[in-house]
């Protein structure tokens, strides 16, 4: 018997206005594992993240975190028990300073975790230093480039000690140099033993970082395996490029 999964999704389905968005998805994510979630636009990847983080309620099926059924738990409570999220559309607070962007993340932690961090202001500076943004701590986040915004959001989620991180296209719209920096940061998270579920379109990036890859198409899980197996799978080409069906 393997280790207890950190995240367990059982037969998850979501129907909105009689349209099936997700259908019968099963998924176990082990602690410390990095799992890539890929699939064409409209396959339900971000919706799947919205269900795991609590912004959408499943029509049927359940989500377990550390064996606790969290299917009806509100998003803020899921965050407080250890589920962090990085958004596709930059989840930073643009009109707040970089310093306040990180500070508010620490202030929102449960009391015992907040106390364990010690001096919050010192911790904020350390977090900004990690991504080379400490020199502009007092600037508004809106002054950052897309890549820097992404780094800020990642560093903030990273520093808030979330056990499971849901990263939604962290390299989208980011320069190659920044992509490499983001990739280094995710590797650091992996080294620290964090569990990561990551949506990406950049397949070489997924191949470099992930232990396992899940492919979604039209709301269903159609493939699952090691990155190198999935990368060369004919079904993947069919999904993305509409090649002849595999027989």
């Amino acid at each position: 018997m393997g280790p207890m999964p950190l995240l367990s999704v059982k037969n998850l389905s979501l129907t909105i206005e009689s349209q099936k968005i997700l259908h019968g998805i099963d998924l176990d994510v082990e602690p410390g594992e990095v799992v890539g979630l890929i699939g064409p636009n409209g396959s339900g990847k971000t919706t799947f993240f919205n269900v795991i983080s609590g912004f959408l309620k499943p029509t049927s099926g359940s989500v377990f975190f550390r064996e606790e059924n969290i299917s009806t738990m509100p998003p803020s409570l899921r965050a407080r028990i250890g589920i962090g999220r990085v958004f596709q559309n930059f989840g930073i607070f643009r009109d707040m300073t970089l310093f306040d962007n990180v500070l508010v993340a620490f202030e929102s932690l449960p009391k015992e975790q907040r106390t364990a961090l010690g001096d919050l202001k010192k911790k904020v500076n350390e977090t900004l230093k990690l991504v080379d943004l400490d020199h502009c701590a007092k600037k508004k986040a809106s002054s950052l480039s897309g890549g820097q915004m992404r780094l800020l959001e990642l560093a903030r989620t990273f520093a808030a000690r979330k056990e499971l991180l849901l990263l939604d296209e962290p390299t989208a719209g980011v320069s190659p140099k920044m992509t490499s920096q983001i990739s280094d940061l995710i590797r650091l998270l992996k080294k620290e033993g964090r569990t990561i579920l990551i949506i990406e379109h950049d397949l070489p990036f997924i191949r470099r970082i992930c232990d396992r890859v899940i492919v979604l198409d039209l709301g269903e899980k159609v493939l699952e395996g090691k990155p190198e197996e999935i990368h060369s799978h004919a079904k993947l080409k069919e999904i993305y490029f509409g090649a002849d069906p595999v027989t």
Binding site: S76, F87, G91, R94, M96, V104, E107
Partner: protein
């Protein structure tokens, strides 16, 4: 000079209302059409405690503020919370219904008479060519203190940072562990409390009438829209800007004639329509919201 004084008096009242309104719109993304009635609750309860009951003014003010907060909390639970997550426009309808109910109750309890919290003769002060009462000076100073305190809370406290984070990106804020349910309730009550304070302001400076609610609400909305929806400081500046336009409209001669005072409110609202045609995001609006 008198126009400037009048602008400060009218603008300060509108700024208190608009701050609460901008907070609610910024955080909950809903329109509350019963805000003017919350102001009347604050004003009338203070009048009732100070005049018929003869309690000291500070006690009356405290009573008015507490009642305003209670009414806004009940209103949130009954007319907003069951609806706003289903569709953001539903509270618009439910708060219109609520405003009608509150209007009826205010008329029933306090009768259709004008009421003033202070009925004694006001001490007048001359500032150059302008005249202002001591009460008005105190109200203007109080508004500056209140708005400064609001700015300090929003920018320098943990709860303020959480409110601003929710205004900027509600889902990201929730993903950090900020409970939207608690924050929405708190912001709605703060907004109602600010409205009650504004109602007490009117009751001290002028007279309260039971039909004032809708006019107050519309003025606050004009400031909210002109300032850029959800932008608190934009709404505050717009409150003073609209007050200045209103004073200018009836306070100076236009082509040799004075405009009748009854047109004062309409001129400001016409200006809002023009402004929205030219700059729909408002004077300080952006595509993204900010506090």
């Amino acid at each position: 000079m008198q126009l400037l004084v009048n602008t400060l008096i009218a603008g300060s009242f509108a700024a208190i209302m608009a701050t609460g309104l901008a907070l609610v719109y910024g955080v909950l993304r809903v329109f509350n059409l019963a805000l003017g009635q919350f102001a009347l609750v604050g004003g009338y309860v203070t009048w009732w405690l100070v005049q018929p009951l003869g309690l000291p003014l500070p006690v009356g003010i405290l009573g008015g503020i507490v009642c305003g907060a209670l009414v806004s909390w009940l209103s949130f639970e009954i007319a907003v919370r069951p609806f706003y997550k289903r569709h953001p426009l539903l509270p618009l309808v439910s708060t219109i219904a609520l405003s009608q109910i509150l209007d009826g109750l205010i008329q029933l309890i306090f009768k259709e008479q004008t009421r003033s919290i202070l009925i004694r003769a006001k001490e007048m002060v001359h500032l150059g060519s302008a005249v202002i009462s001591m009460e008005q000076i105190k109200l203007i100073i109080f508004t500056v203190v209140l708005l400064s305190a609001t700015a300090w809370i929003l920018h320098s406290t943990s709860i303020g940072r959480r409110i601003r984070a929710t205004v900027a990106h509600s889902q990201a804020a929730e993903s950090l562990g900020i409970s939207s349910a608690l924050l929405h309730r708190l912001v709605f009550i703060i907004s109602g409390t600010l409205a009650a304070i504004a109602g007490i302001y009117v009751g001290i400076d002028q007279n309260l009438t039971p039909v004032l609610g809708f006019t107050i609400t519309i003025k606050a909305y004009a400031a909210l829209i002109a300032g850029g929806k959800g932008n608190i400081w934009g709404a505050v500046i717009a409150s003073y800007f609209i007050a200045a336009i209103e004073q200018l409209a009836v306070g100076i001669k236009w082509f040799g004639y004075y405009l009748p005072a009854g047109y004062q409110g309409s001129v400001a609202l016409m200006l809002i329509i023009v402004l929205l045609l030219i700059k729909p995001t408002g004077l300080f609006g952006r595509t993204s919201r900010f506090a």
